[in-house]
Symmetry: C2
Subunit: 158 residues, 2 copies
DNA sequence: TTCTTAATGAAACCATGTCTCAACAAAGAC
DNA sequence: GTCTTTGTTGAGACATGGTTTCATTAAGAA
């Protein structure tokens, strides 16, 4: 991930705030700096912790208030894997994909797109009498092949 | 849903308990009677409320302790739709499908299967170097077509 | 019927997340 | 730069969904 891409995304968030007549506060700046200085998925509590390392005054309330702005502006993805807390993902691309493969061995999360699956989903919705508005596909998987090849890049995979 | 089918599923749960050397208590009987007297999905709190109508002594702890037994025995499905609480579904069939269409208008939940989608999922997993273990697909939809036809059977759809 | 011990209910507890409200600070007007 | 308006903030109370503890109860074997 290049530095310009990070700056670009931050600029987009500022634009989003301006368009909504929301104020560009220091806390919001710290939070987006934090979000867009990682490529990893994170939880709200992790974000709070990281943001506080940059500015110890950032409060839990502000983090929880800013996350919906980030998801609304589509710069961050919200993901629910059935755990009691949610995961978030900095979204550098514009793609609206909500398909994730989660490795049960190394906890790696891979996003992917599939037009084929989307087409079938619409077909199924139609058949049932519904119009599909959005979709969310989660695959739980094992990185056995990557491990065998020695190309799994997560620390937890030896 | 026929009466025998309900009895059959209850019998299976008793068998499950016996096999595990778990006791067949009155509370567990009340809870499965409650679960398998509906076709609807429900939350843990709803189940508690319903069970208490049959036997007011059933406690929250027991409901929450029994639900994992029901999911483990595969007689109830656990579903997570990103809300802070989970939904459960009495599972009369043996099918392991985990695909749900949730209507955002009437909150109806429809389960469906798709071999086509599963095939594509495996293909994608392979391509990424993973072996897909399980999948979970959620479609958010609108029942506009059913409403237009006047065939949506939920009370909330007029 | 007795005995062992798993299961239970009540309530304390926990974790994630939301809300309230007085204090603060952006940003426009001057 | 200073003033004024009003959206935003931090601290902590609160809400919610769920889990754990522990004394008591009751399955089920003997």
């Amino acid at each position: 991930m290049e530095k310009e891409a990070r700056e670009e995304v931050k600029r987009k968030f500022i634009e989003f705030l301006e368009k909504k007549d929301f104020r560009i506060t220091n806390q919001r700046r710290v939070i987006i700096d934090t979000v867009f200085s990682t490529d990893e998925h994170f939880t709200a509590e992790q974000l709070l912790e990281w943001a506080r390392e940059k500015d110890s005054s950032v409060s839990r309330a502000t983090v929880y208030r800013t996350l919906p702005l980030l998801t609304e502006s589509n710069l961050v993805h919200e993901m629910d894997f059935g755990k009691p807390y949610k995961f978030y993902d900095p979204n550098y691309s514009e793609s609206p994909n909500h398909n994730h493969l989660i490795c049960e061995d190394c906890e790696k999360i891979v996003e992917f797109d599939s037009e084929k699956i989307e087409a079938i989903e619409n077909e199924i919705g139609d058949k049932l009498g519904f119009t599909v508005k959005s979709q969310n596909l989660q695959l739980t998987a094992s990185c056995d092949t990557l491990k065998r090849k020695g190309t799994c890049d997560k620390k937890s995979c030896s």
